[in-house]
Assembly symmetry: C2
Homo-oligomer: 336 residues x 2
């Protein structure tokens, strides 16, 4: 197995990418192609004294910036690390791709270059997020702002397959994000989607309110990319503000400062358990090959976990299973 | 001034409503009409020994349940406390209405019975929510799941007037909830709304990401009711899970238990500052008279604050100002 890595993507590229890649290549015994500025990558490898036959460099002269327009760069930055990596994946010079670069470019480029599984209407970006006692897959988190009930149905199918194959959940509970649990609640799209999902053989638990998402009522939380992005980003923002406020509470006076010392270790453990970047990268689902979006601020450890996730995604049979299921759904709706 | 109160709405009715109403009638020197089951209300008043000439009871034989279908009950439960209260407000037997009952019924009923200000396309439900160092008005939070750019523009206008008149913010900063700050980002509606808001004389700061909402980047945060409800409910759910987890951290061992004692008072203060139910009720904006939706779980203190808010809303001139602004906008777009 060979994992292709966009070595220039993310805030800490290429150093954190290279660190994570060497560790992963050894631990998971996989070949790794580091795509990017050869001289920079080679210099860093030399500096660190890394050596592993399984790691190779593929030169790419350009880099996609975080604020580049996705469609423009896919067309025009043909020799960017991300586009070169996607082309390699597409022609079989590797089995999976990991990138921490521009999300829009990765989604757009993957759809154009790696291409969708037959019958899949839209690729979806999923993110594992911590819940009260476990974690769940939220999708879509930004690949598709406007969704039809048919897109959302496929997201539910793809998310269920992912959680089943990768985390061995027998019948992942699927919930649809809505503003009430009753059937008539919500936007026109939500009402129609709920109706559609009820007819499937998914383990569909119905509409779920945003209040219940952090409690972990569902394993697969389905919504359009606009709503998913709001959920993901608000969670980030709220956690940031709350932890900042808690830090201020502990700094209030001498007693609270003492309290901080006593509770520090347990508190850090808890904070870490709530950090979704610890859960690896965000899988793009619905493509012909595994693509993992690592968080833009990924450190070496996050890249290591994202590569592990790419390895597992490749081995899992997720893509074949999605292909089978969406084809069956298509036949069924043609029969109806 | 007379405030009409739906004495049967909410989880703690009528006792908490009556407690809050008597306190408010005295402190704010306003007349209060308690609408609901006369015998129950009178018995509770007698039990508590309350006496105030400014408080009167208006009998209503029915109660709207939390899960009643809004349109059905407005049509069929004509003698429910909420419908009687809305009719009183409509014909001038009071200046403002407070209810902790069924949100959908209150929104639908207010639109049908109290009616919208001329030229206002949709009434919006707003909620004050705490931010890092202050608070902001989020609207809509559930009255309108599907919104056009024109509705959202009016929400921005109404929210700005509310924050200006009630909290003396000179030029409230208005942000549009979106999944990126760039102009081309987001759903079709979000793109069109951003374009529209840029042309107004509002203090429009542009698209804002959900991540930045808790930090307090805007005073008025505009979105459709679906998105607003997600933001409100997810904030509730996350706070609940996080505070539960923190409680567990403090119970870990003897050291953390000691820490809990040392930090308890400061921590409770912080928790209270983050509780949006402390900020009074949710105003319905765009109606001809002030209507305040109190939280379903409101206690006497929450009702007291919701009544204060109704008094201020009535005195503020908000409704006249909204009427003037939306009429001016209408003329302008007719000119264009």
């Amino acid at each position: 197995m060979r994992i292709i890595i966009d070595a220039m993507g993310g805030d800490n590229a290429p150093s954190a990418v290279v660190d994570g890649a060497f560790r992963a290549a050894t631990d998971f015994n996989v070949a790794v192609s580091l795509v990017g500025d050869e001289s920079k990558i080679a210099a860093y490898i030399k500096e660190k004294g890394y050596s592993n036959d399984k790691v190779s460099i593929v030169h790419a002269s350009e880099v996609i910036a975080m604020d580049d327009n996705p469609i423009d760069v896919i067309k025009n930055k043909k020799d960017s690390s991300m586009v070169v990596a996607m082309n390699m994946l597409s022609i079989g010079e590797g089995d999976a791709l990991v990138s921490a670069g521009n999300t829009g470019a990765l989604v757009t480029g993957s759809t154009l270059i790696v291409k969708r599984i037959r019958n899949v209407r839209r690729a979806a970006l999923g993110t594992l997020m911590p819940t009260k006692d476990a974690f769940m897959l939220l999708l879509d988190v930004g690949a598709n702002s406007d969704c039809t009930p048919q897109f959302l149905h496929q997201f539910a199918v793809m998310g269920s397959v992912y959680m089943n194959k990768l985390y061995r959940l027998d019948a992942p509970k699927v919930g649809l994000v809505n503003i009430g649990t009753e059937d008539e609640k919500g936007s026109d799209v939500a009402v129609a989607t709920n109706k559609l999902l009820k007819k499937t053989d998914l383990n569909y638990i119905g509409n779920i309110e945003a209040r219940d998402i952090p409690a972990g009522v569902a394993d697969v939380v389905v919504c359009d990319g606009f709503t998913g992005n709001i959920i993901l980003k608000l969670t980030e923002g709220l956690a940031h503000v709350l932890f900042g406020k808690i830090r201020a509470v502990f700094k209030s006076n001498i007693f609270t400062k003492l309290a901080a010392l006593l509770v520090k270790r347990k508190f850090m453990e808890f904070k870490k358990s709530m950090d979704y970047t610890e859960y690896g990268g965000a899988p793009l689902l619905g493509l012909r090959k595994p693509v993992i979006k690592a968080h833009g601020s990924s450190d070496a450890n996050a890249f290591y976990h994202a590569i592990r996730q790419a390895v597992n995604y490749t081995k899992s049979g997720i893509i074949e299973e999605i292909a089978t299921k969406v084809a069956a759904d298509k036949e069924e709706s043609a029969d109806a």
